[in-house]
Amino acid sequence: MINSGDTAFIMVSAALVLLMTPGLAMFYGGMVRGKNVLGTIMQSFILIGLVSIEWVYIGYSMSFGPDIGGFIGSLAWFGLNGVTNAPSPVYATTIPQTVFMIYQCMFAVITPALITGAFAERMRFAPFLIFSLIWTVVVYNPVCHWIWGDGGWLAARGVKDFAGGLVVHLTSGAAALAAVMVMGARKGHGHDKFVPHNLPMTLLGTGLLWFGWFGFNGGSALAADGVAATAFVATHLAGMAGMIMWTAMEWMFDGKPTTLGAASGAIAGLATITPASGFVTPGSAIFIGLLAGCACYLAVNFKNKIGFDDSLDVVGIHGLGGLMGTICLGIFATKAVNPGGADGLLAGNAAFLGTQAFGTVVVLVYAFIASFIILKAIDATIGLRVSDEDETQGLDLGLHNETAYS
């Protein structure tokens, strides 16, 4: 039975999640140097095209199609074969399946876009497209099936991920770690200045991401109901708590509060609450946001100390956020908030924390190893990195024959 309220809410949520990808492009674009801003924005934008095509033909079917052994969906729904405006019997049963499909499409789009922050300012465009496509097929689709697909093996073990702490943030964070290891640092890293060229752009992107996140987490209830309200509220509370905490940390330890710190903290809080948003109380959401602001701040500082060039901090913010949020869900989840959810450690169910830890390790290891192999293979065949000349003069001119500011 189609419910018009649910359908309207998920359609709007899909549009909100779509907006996060341009938002991410602004968020990242402001942080790179002016000569690379278009190249950086393009890496997010073009995935709206590339991944949407992949999703319609094979991605949706691999992720949500008829289960094969718990590991992958079959290609029975190739090209949306049989995916109609009738509700699916298993997913989001009160909305047209086409709406569910397009809502999930937006998640598949933004996930590889998140990785681009790790190798910002140094990857060629063609290998970037090839990597993103293969990664979506080999990493995103299977992990999505394991956790959200009907018959997925991690879901069967009780692993929960409300809106993508594992499926989106940990997979992209693990891929980011592999990308930095394979590609190495940017030219001049450690002695040249890598100063953000337009922080107002980054702050605007942060605002768009925050706005879109209400659709990302709220919409993951797949209905306009109380669970959606829980997720909506938790999302906002964790975002604001993360922002306050990161800003306070740097005010204490670095001397001054910064706009980039406020933006980073908000994104850390939002990413960390993602897996837990529909399963925890508002108080827990605030705590998780504060934890995210503190831990991600420390992680990013640690990265600077060891000279690891995760350029825009995908590992320290999205990877760590997804990981911590999934573990926190194991601690703070309570059926008092969401009867369809789970009880965590604090509700007397320590086993659920173990389940979440297991899911985290599996996704981290799989996503890291698979990403590492894909990147190594592309590097060995056509090469990942831009030429010295293009890296020096910038991606905008070198790869796209454009400049952002003339």
């Binding site: 890598f194 670095d254 001397g255 980039l260 980073s264 600077n304």
Partner: protein
């Protein structure tokens, strides 16, 4: 005649200009410049990564006055531009051979 060049903090420009007007200085030339001295630039921190910025924005004033006025001008600039903090700037005084007004061709003190 003396030419006085003063490097000062940009936010002190209005104070210095007012003070110089009051003592009868009739004109000046101002340029936005960048530089460093003992202050050695400043630090910027982005997500905990520290960058040293060597050249920091300053304003350079150029003023030409009669020799008898020079000390009064430098004293006035020093007073008006002083914050007591490192990086307040410097004043250079040099002798000037000739001044010519473009419109009339007047020379020397008449042209100032």
């Amino acid at each position: 005649m003396k030419k006085i060049e003063a490097i000062i903090k940009p936010f002190k420009l209005d104070d210095v200009k007012e003070a110089l007007n009051e003592i009868g200085v009739k004109g000046m030339t101002v340029t936005e410049v960048k530089g460093y001295g003992r202050q050695k630039g400043h630090k910027e921190i982005y997500r905990g990564a520290e960058y040293q910025v060597d050249f920091i924005p300053k304003v350079k004033l150029e003023i030409v006055v009669e020799e008898s006025m020079a000390e009064k001008v430098t004293d006035t600039i020093r007073e008006a531009a002083n914050t007591g903090n490192i990086g307040d700037g410097k004043i250079f005084v040099m002798s000037l051979e000739e001044v010519i007004r473009v419109r009339t061709g007047e020379k020397g003190r008449e042209a100032i």
